[in-house]
């Protein structure tokens, strides 16, 4: 009898003990685990020249001002390149969690560009685990330079070029993100027979955060041999991202002039390691047009 009682007391006291130890475990067991999407792989939508795996958030308009100056090795007379600048102005808008659209105008070949970027896969943990993000990017550009040669008729279609890219990115840790961007550039018309209409390339990008609001970025775009003329080179860039509230400042050193894929992938000049380096910056300023409930912010 006493033994009976003793066992009962033991059982109950153990129940109390486990019950009071962690109350939440009572409901966490059958709690549906959530899928947590990894956020902020990059500070903004560009690594430097390359599109990053980030999109502008839905309802957010990103006004981008980008400059690339002349080669630093032009010396003091050209104020180390700052006398010459190439500009792209862009307006880019997030439409959904996955889709963004952008328009821009570059002084490089007086080009208008329009693009779409769509997140096919998003890096996540929790219920659904996805080790990397994958985005698809497509753009069309129109060169609007005046035709200087009256003997040649330039068709509208000859002014068009396209870029297609897949962006594989992974945030390896809070501080380190890397991406691979297989790229296809198609130009309807090329200048010389040395150049192919279709150019295949592989872009590499990486960033390392050195503070909560500061990161170092680097990128390199490898054009597979035999597709572009000899004077063209591969794009190499290194820079910093500085974030201050609604702005992101990207300051960099690069050998690229153009800020559209066609230019910095297939028509890039300058030997980075021979000192043909330009200073450049991208400034991003975001405005919230509508919030996640579809309302205009106050």
């Amino acid at each position: 009898m006493t033994r009976f009682l003793f066992v009962f007391v033991l059982v109950f006291s153990s129940m109390i003990a486990s019950g009071q130890d962690d109350l939440l475990s009572l409901i966490e067991d059958d709690e549906e685990e959530e899928t947590l999407f990894t956020s902020a792989l990059w500070k903004t939508t560009r690594v430097i020249n390359l599109q990053s795996s980030e999109n502008v958030a839905p309802g957010t308009l990103d006004f981008r001002i980008s400059h690339r100056f002349g080669f630093v090795n032009q010396g003091a007379y050209e104020f180390f390149g700052l006398d010459n600048s190439t500009i792209r102005l862009g307006l880019e808008l997030g439409l959904t969690d996955r889709l963004m659209v952008g328009f821009g105008r570059s002084s490089f070949q007086k080009t208008f560009d329009g693009f779409l970027k769509y997140k096919l896969l998003r890096q996540s943990s929790g219920k659904k685990t996805m080790p990397f993000s994958l985005s698809a990017f497509g753009s069309m550009t129109i060169n609007t330079l005046k035709n200087e040669d009256p003997d040649i008729e330039v068709l509208f279609t000859s002014r068009l070029a396209y870029a297609f890219q897949l962006i594989f990115a992974r945030k390896f840790s809070t501080g380190f993100t890397a991406q691979l961007s297989p790229t296809l550039i198609h130009r309807n018309l090329v200048e010389t027979t040395d150049e192919k209409n279709d150019v295949f390339a592989l872009g590499f990008g990486a960033r390392h955060k050195i503070g909560k609001r500061l990161a170092i970025n680097a990128e390199y775009i490898h054009v597979f041999p035999g597709q572009i003329a000899d004077q063209y080179t591969n794009s190499i860039s290194i820079g910093v991202d500085i974030e201050t509230g609604g702005h992101v400042f990207q300051l960099h050193l690069t050998n690229s002039t153009a800020m559209i894929e066609k230019g910095f992938v297939a028509e890039n000049t300058g030997e980075f390691f021979k000192g043909d380096i330009r200073f450049g910056f991208n400034i991003s300023r975001v405005f919230t047009l509508w919030d996640h409930k579809g309302k205009q912010p106050k």
């Binding site: 947590l36 956020s39 919230t288």
Partner: protein, 187 residues
């Protein structure tokens, strides 16, 4: 016969004890937590509807947990900065509260009415644990239990640094509102 009575009595007592020991618990999985920062330039509000909470009315023990990433902000960039720069939610994904209702004996969840519960416990977030004391308003209506608590926390107490450049946009003390609709846990 005497033995029989003793056995019955004993079982009866055991039943009573067990009834008391397997006490009533209340819980929610969709508790609301609102974060509010009122600074001179910017008023920031974020809402999280995924707080989980279990309240043992016998011992007065109460526990809550919330995923930092589930806070929804008006502006996407605020949400990103909240997670990336301030809460560092990849490193510290949850905020937890583990506490005790000190005046449990005067809170009768079985009877309709309004009560004030004195809650004291440990709030852990961003890798820092601190003691929080707060009065919660409990209202019981037709057996439905609602629990509302409003309190303020100094972000610096939790090792969250606000750079001087955004000091006019982010308050040093933020208001937290917890609003729970609790149900009986059948377990």
């Amino acid at each position: 016969m005497k033995m029989m009575i003793r056995k019955t009595l004993l079982l009866g007592i055991l039943f009573l004890i067990s009834g008391q020991l397997i006490s009533q618990k209340y819980y929610t999985r969709d508790g609301k937590v609102v974060f509010e920062s009122d600074a001179p330039i910017e008023h920031i509000v974020a809402e999280n509807n995924k707080a989980i909470c279990v309240w043992d009315t016998e011992s007065g023990a109460i526990e809550m947990a919330i995923l930092i990433k589930s806070f929804k902000f008006e502006k996407a960039l605020m949400e990103e900065h909240f997670n990336e720069n301030y809460m560092e939610s990849e490193e510290f994904p949850k905020a937890k509260f583990k506490g005790l209702i000190r005046n449990m004996s005067s809170v009768h969840l079985g009877d309709d009415g309004a009560y004030t519960a004195e809650v004291e416990g440990e709030l852990s977030m961003h890798g820092v644990t601190r003691t929080v004391v707060v009065d919660a308003n409990i209202s019981v209506e037709n057996g439905k239990v609602q629990c509302i608590a409003i309190f303020e926390i100094a972000v610096d107490d939790y090792d969250i640094k606000i750079p001087s450049i955004v000091r006019d946009k982010i308050a040093e003390t933020v208001k937290i509102t917890v609003d729970l609709d609790l149900n009986i846990l059948n377990k």
